[in-house]
Amino acid sequence: MIFSNLAALQVVVPLIGAPLCTLFGRGILAWALSTAVTWFAFAVSISLLMQVLCCGTINYVMGGWLAPWGIEYRVDHLSALVLLLITGVASAVMPFAYQSVAREIPREKHRLFYTAYLLTFTGLLGMVITGDAFNAFVFMEISSLSAYVLIALGKNRRALYASFQYLVLGTIGATFFVIGVGLLYMITGTLNMVDLSERLSGQHDSRVFLAAVGFLVVGLSLKLALFPLHLWLPNSYAYAPSVVTVLLAATGTKVAVYLLLRFIFTVLQVNQQPDLLPVVDLLFPLALIGMFAGSIVAIYQTDVKRLLAYSSIAQMGYILLGISMASERGLIGAIVHVFNHGVMKAGLFVAVGAIAVHAGGTSIQNLAGLGRRMPFTMAAFTICALSLIGIPGTVGFVSKWYLVLAALEAGTTRGFIAAIAVVSASLLAIIYVWRVVEVAYFANPSDGEASVAEASWQTQFSLWIFSSSCVAFGLSTGLTAGVARLAAQTLLGIAP
């Protein structure tokens, strides 16, 4: 019985965890319950992935109503991989959360904090697993609303304003998404993604369709912080509580990328409609600008959290670059980078969270001499940071390798530009990563901060899960690149 309902349990168990946490989460119980729920969801996502790998796409009909009439859950390779990322990050961060939340959030708020955390988690999962366009919007709002609140809990008052800005831009994004879905519904009469793609064929030159594409792409680009629409991101990441930053940086924008992939390829089938290719072409220059602008601004940051936030904007550029190539290799690169960037950013932000606690702040000066004082934390940080650059042996290398291959494979001038861009933006990454690492290992601590101690074992535990994954998935690419290949083939409609 459990196995036939796994797809539903993936979302519903975290969903029921939230009110249970409100009711019973006194003291440590809130944390324990959230840990149990996230680890259970992680186990479910693993078995979903195995099920997809063995027997193909899973369809689950909510309420027993068949697809276009009821809401359908659909797990294919792409969604299984993104589910694995979300549940993996959310569960691996829990040991770190134990201490970090205790330090950053007043005690009386813990119960509601973990409730909101579980709600964000539920929303992210729901967006990925659903096969219904409107249902995706509902879960998008669950995750966004709880994320706004979680960001606002940061210690600095700027967290409040950052959260409000995010609320405004996020709601504009979501409303654009609803307009887009509504226009598609108007010309097809259905909301189910697969049904939509079937009924849309032959209508690709309709003006309503084009407007719908525009609104969907702009709406989702706001959510994923595509370059000119990224304004909400740096402050949100910089001022949110550490645990929240980890979850959002590693998974929040990735889920928006997932939806963009879903809509561009599964619903709109851009690759099979030559007259729609301009949509993807438009992403190309934006991706390039994002890669460089994000990296260059990151170089000038004096706060590590903000530096990493701008680096996220740059990394989002890589992902969109892969998407804009609309080829199998390009998509593999994009999908692998969604996964890999999630893992490394989670590691980096956990490390920064530990540094904030133990070194008293996250500005670069605070890092002086930490290489000796917090050797394990800084070692893990460095591994993840090297991965951000794309050193061979780390996950960053794998995704950039696929992107460069895809770019050269295209054989066009554009592909050539893309390849050069990937390499040179990585050089910029070396600069901003080096600034941090240099201070940590080669600068002397300014004044008597001898009390700086190594992070607790719980934090180390979370941190090393991420940093060792950076190496493990960098050396053996079977899981990530293998699944990503199958996912890319499904998206492009090539039979695997």
């Binding site: 709600l119 609140v149 226009l183 259905t190 407007a211």
Partner: protein
């Protein structure tokens, strides 16, 4: 006819919201806007939606906005900012939509795609399979019951969020 009148009043109210500086007046206008919207929904046969819009938009939202005004004051002192980018965004989005209007299925036509796919089965099936006359309730609570679960979760999230934002002592910021 009434419909067109209501739509014009909606435009008028929205313009009022845009121009009026006193926040109390803006909030009341937004309540009126919701009420007019509810009227329009009734004319368009969406009685359930009209009911909800009246209760939520004109009722609860206005109460909450007024309660918030009690804390933050009524004055909109803001100097308007450079309007170039906002105008560009709005014009761009508006043009994109207006461009699509001529090819939209004609208003009210029974042959529009949404009236021939998915929905007819709801209308036919509901009395026999679910056994209630209100098709909207049937779709809401049953066919798309999972959406409604999401909707309840959204409202739960809002409640938790507001409580979380105000829980505990008020913090002093530097």
């Amino acid at each position: 006819m009434i419909g067109i009148g209501l739509l014009l009043f909606l435009l008028l109210t929205a313009t009022g919201i845009l121009l009026v500086r006193n926040l109390f007046a803006v909030v009341i206008l937004s309540g009126i806007y919701s009420l007019l919207m509810a009227g329009t929904f009734t004319i368009l046969d969406a009685v359930d939606v009209a009911f909800t819009e009246a209760a939520v938009g004109a009722g609860i939202s206005t109460v909450l906005l007024l309660a918030a005004l009690g804390v933050v004051g009524q004055e909109d002192r803001g100097r308007n900012r450079r309007a170039l980018i906002p105008i560009a965004v709005v014009v761009l989005a508006g043009v994109m939509l207006i461009y699509a209007v001529p090819e939209m299925p004609p208003f009210g036509s029974p042959e529009a795609p949404i009236h021939v796919h998915v929905a007819p089965q709801y209308i036919e099936e509901t009395p026999s399979v679910i056994g209630i006359p209100n098709v909207v309730t049937a779709v809401l609570a049953d066919y798309r019951g999972f959406d409604t679960l999401g909707e309840v979760t959204v409202i739960f999230t809002a409640g938790i969020g507001v409580l979380l934002l105000f829980a505990g002592r008020r913090r002093k910021y530097k």
